[in-house]
């Protein structure tokens, strides 16, 4: 009996395993640190227009950057679509150079000086607040006020989120590591509420779980579209405050990819007028190419003054920023 079963078992197991092998038949694999909610439709549009079969792996930008670093040469990813410049910068050593025609579509300050990645949409850090609980005048103009007793247990932050991490990196570059650590510990001791991502944070503000939260400006509009009565608004902190960092979502092509052309096509698509209009009209971000109108409810990009920090320097900070967040206790 056993002599019969053994080969049978091997055959069936082999068939079962090979049946589910196969797998990678995509023309382009995107690692997206941007949420499916926000960019799923855009990627679907690219798939239609390019006639390429696209696989997307969604995650947090820093998580995907760490994944790319871990995978090294073996990475199945062709292109990294990141929520912020820092996560791209952190893996810029694994990216190949982009052609000038793609890079030059966006202003200097939104791209890697050495041409390995470029920003495709602009966003500002804001202090979102619950409009039932607070008038805009009561919302702090600086994130440094949030460690005061008045805000105990009333502030929501999303430490796993790449844009939050970029803001912490910017604070470190702006005011130094010691003051940043002090601020983070102050936030922790002031019982800041931790969320996984920006959307959860804004929703918690809407439910009244917290009164204010540190997020990117555009999540509010996405949520308002689903629930127009959501009692949340954005407050732009004062110019020069680390809490007013202007950042960019961006894209880079992996040097290890054997589909450079398709990957570049995706990058080119993101800075096309169609995609830029999608950012302005659908996700309420700032388009970065000339000639596409920004969303009209927002202050013009040129008037937003973040801290004196170049986006290209955020990447080298990511490792140590993550370590700092971990040491303060925001990871475990």
């Amino acid at each position: 009996m056993i002599r019969r079963i053994a080969p049978l078992a091997v055959t069936v197991a082999a068939v079962a395993l090979s049946a589910c092998g196969g797998g990678d038949d995509a023309d382009l694999t995107i690692y997206s640190g941007r949420n499916e909610e926000l960019v799923g439709d855009l990627i679907a549009r690219f798939e239609r227009e390019s006639d390429l079969k696209v696989d997307v792996r969604y995650g947090d930008s820093a998580e995907l950057a760490a994944t790319i670093a871990e995978e090294g040469e073996n990475s199945p990813a062709d292109v990294f679509f990141s929520q912020d410049a820092g996560a791209l910068g952190a893996v810029e050593g694994t990216l190949s150079s982009m052609p000038g025609s793609v890079l030059e579509a966006v202003p200097d300050r939104f791209r890697d000086p050495r041409g390995r990645w470029l920003g495709v949409s602009g966003r500002a850090r804001v202090i979102a607040y619950n409009t039932d609980e607070l008038a805009e005048s009561e919302v702090p103009d600086s994130v440094f006020e949030l460690t005061e007793k008045r805000w105990r247990g009333r502030v929501g932050i999303p430490p796993p989120n790449a844009s939050f991490q970029a803001f912490v990196s910017a604070m470190r570059l702006d005011v130094g590591d010691d003051r940043t650590r002090e601020w983070l510990e102050g936030m922790r001791d002031n019982d800041a509420q931790l969320y996984d991502n920006n959307i959860q944070t804004v929703e918690a503000i809407g439910r009244g779980e917290v009164e204010v939260g540190l997020v990117n400006h555009y999540y509010l509009y996405e949520l308002k579209r689903e629930d127009p009565d959501l009692a949340v608004a954005n407050h732009f902190p004062r110019a020069g405050d680390p809490g007013s960092l202007v950042n960019a979502a961006g894209v880079g092509v992996l040097a290890s990819s054997d589909g450079q052309d398709n990957a570049e096509r995706f990058a080119r698509f993101l800075v096309s007028a169609g995609a830029q209009k999608y950012f302005a009209g659908r996700t309420f971000e700032y388009p970065l190419i000339e000639g596409v109108q920004p969303p009209d409810r927002l202050p013009p990009l040129g008037r937003l003054m973040g801290p004196q920090v170049e986006l290209g320097r955020l990447g080298e900070q990511l490792r140590s920023t993550l370590k700092l967040l971990d040491e303060v206790g925001f990871t475990t």
Binding site: M1, I2, R3, R4, I5, A6, P7, A9, V10, V12, A13, A16, L17, A19, C20, G21, G22, G23, D24, A26, T29, Y31, N35, E37, V54, D55, V56, R57, Y58, G59, D60, A62, E63, A65, A66, T67, A69, E70, E71, G72, N74, P76, A90, P160, L194, D196, N197, I199, Q200, E203, R207, G208, E209, R319, L322, K323, L325, D326, T331, T332
Partner: protein, 515 residues
């Protein structure tokens, strides 16, 4: 018992299966050993100690509460004159259909500001405790019902005849009879809550599984996540060892004898309404509430059906593949241990249970680390995902196959051969009919577990490969709870037949879980 030497191919297959099962743990140890000393710093942090304490606290609380719900419920539906006992027995077991993270989702939806219940948000420890208790008390319930059915009512009746009150009888006779079942149930509950990832993540409760995931996701250097994962494994092994000790101290209890007649019924008297209210409350919160929430979301919103069909097919594909592969992989190991019993085959079988100490998040991490560096060909492939399921659920299949084989006496096969039937006909007409149902029950259990599995699926799945479980997860990560309704309901519907098989077949399936 026989001392025949096993055929070589069988030995090779058995050893290969167990080697794959051990791979993640071994690799994790290698990785951690090769990591810089900095990775170990994570163990020295005061926060890690707090984390361990909170994890142990949660597991202990859930285990105690699951026993406190499961034991009285089992007694009520088997020994009392509770109206509608059959109905309650099924209704109280049915929360098994719901993945625990769906229970968590429902609790989140009805609590907090604007929630149906008007209670403060059920997050953190309280929320995780509630959801995990509701998800796990059916283990205790079913094992205790089975034990009560097996127990000879004569003992209880004798005590009654000696003038003991029902509560004295329960304490002096019934409870000691139940002790092995309670122990097995408590072990299942403890292992489940220690390994749970979905509930503690949704509830944002502090627990080791979530810490491992956050560390994995939130740091560039992934060695500390591996160290934390090993800490979790160590804790799991402590639970397993502690249970072994307790079991050997208590003895295995009276298991054998079949009941020849049903036990006499204890009249509840004025406690009837209380007992009814108890059953209704447990079934209400554990079953009616979550299903109600899902249905309400379905009816209220306009849930998009996009992707649900694909996710359903994907879930079924991997679950069926995992059930088949795992059962087939367990077969040679079980055959070796049952038919070619020797020191090494028994050791091989024992080692096969090592995966009991491997929570899903740990298995996922180990495979991701291993494949990204050493096996790029299967990295992010369905093959790797199915192998991970196989490793994770190998003990379930092994217990199923072993118990099935123990029912097929070698003598029957020998008799069939002696009567002139060839090996193939013997296999078809004797072995398969006897062993088949047990194999199916084991496979059904693996199927059910795979359908609900979350952490390994999240981390190991191919890019763009969505299953029902990951759809629920994605919807909740952006608090689109109503979007989770359809995949969650489909998941429950798919799980129902497997649960039915396990529950209706005298909860044999749970004996497998508890092995």
């Amino acid at each position: 018992m026989t001392s025949r030497r096993p055929p070589l191919p069988l030995s090779v297959l058995g050893v290969a299966a167990v080697a794959i099962v051990c791979l993640p743990l071994v690799y994790l140890v290698i990785r951690v050993a090769g990591a810089g000393t900095e990775a170990w710093d994570v163990l020295e942090r005061p926060r890690t100690l707090t984390l361990v304490a909170k994890t142990v606290g949660l597991v202990a609380a859930v285990t105690a509460a699951a026993v406190a719900l499961g034991v009285p419920a089992a007694w009520l539906v088997t020994r009392s004159d509770l109206p509608g006992r059959r109905f309650w027995a099924v209704a109280l077991a049915l929360p098994l259909v719901l993945p625990s993270y769906v229970l968590a989702l429902a609790l989140l939806a009805v609590s907090g500001p604007g929630g149906l219940l008007g209670v403060p948000a059920l997050t953190g420890f309280t929320g995780a405790f509630l959801a995990l208790t509701l998800a796990t008390y059916p283990f205790v319930l079913l094992l205790c019902i089975a034990a009560l059915h097996r127990a000879d009512p004569a003992l209880e009746e004798a005590a009654q005849g000696l003038g003991r009150s029902p509560s004295q009888v329960f304490k002096a006779v019934t409870l000691p009879l139940l002790r092995p079942a309670i122990g097995a149930g408590a072990l299942l509950v403890a292992l489940y809550s220690l390994a749970d990832f979905g509930v503690v993540s949704l509830m944002r409760a502090e627990a080791l599984t979530r810490a491992v995931f956050l560390q994995y996701r939130g740091a560039f250097d992934r060695d500390p996540a591996a160290v934390l994962a090993l800490l979790l494994v160590a804790l799991t092994i402590l639970v397993l060892v502690g249970e072994q000790r307790a079991r050997s101290r208590l003895g295995s209890g009276s298991r054998g004898g079949r009941t020849v007649r049903p036990a006499s019924v204890v009249p509840l008297g004025r406690w009837r309404p209380v007992a009814l209210a108890f059953c209704a409350a447990v079934a209400g919160v554990g079953l009616v509430l979550p299903v109600g929430v899902l249905v309400a979301w379905l009816l209220r919103g306009s849930p998009s059906l996009d992707g649900v069909a694909t996710a359903t097919l994907n879930s079924l594909l991997v679950a069926v593949a995992a059930a088949a592969v795992t059962t087939l992989a367990a077969l040679p190991v079980a055959v070796l241990a049952a038919r070619f019993r020797s020191r090494w085959t028994v050791a091989l079988e024992r080692t096969g249970y090592a995966a009991n100490a491997l929570p899903g998040i740990v298995a996922a991490l180990a495979f991701v680390f291993f494949a990204a560096r050493h096996a790029p060909a299967i990295y992010q492939s369905l093959t790797l995902l199915v192998v991970a399921y196989m490793v994770r659920f190998f003990p379930q299949a092994l217990a199923g196959v072993t118990s099935a084989l123990s029912r097929a006496e070698p003598k029957l096969e020998e008799a069939s051969r002696g009567l002139g039937r060839g090996p193939a006909r013997t296999l078809a007409t004797v072995t398969v009919p006897i062993v088949g149902p047990g194999l199916l029950a084991g496979a059904a259990l693996v199927l059910l577990s795979t359908l609900k599995e979350l952490p390994a699926t999240l981390i190991l799945r191919p890019s763009g490969f969505d299953t029902l479980a990951t759809e629920v997860w994605t919807a909740t990560s952006v608090t689109q709870y109503s979007e989770a309704a359809v995949p969650a309901l489909v998941l429950c519907v798919l799980a129902a037949p497997a649960v039915w098989l396990l529950v209706v077949r005298g909860s044999r399936g749970l004996d497998l879980l508890g092995n």
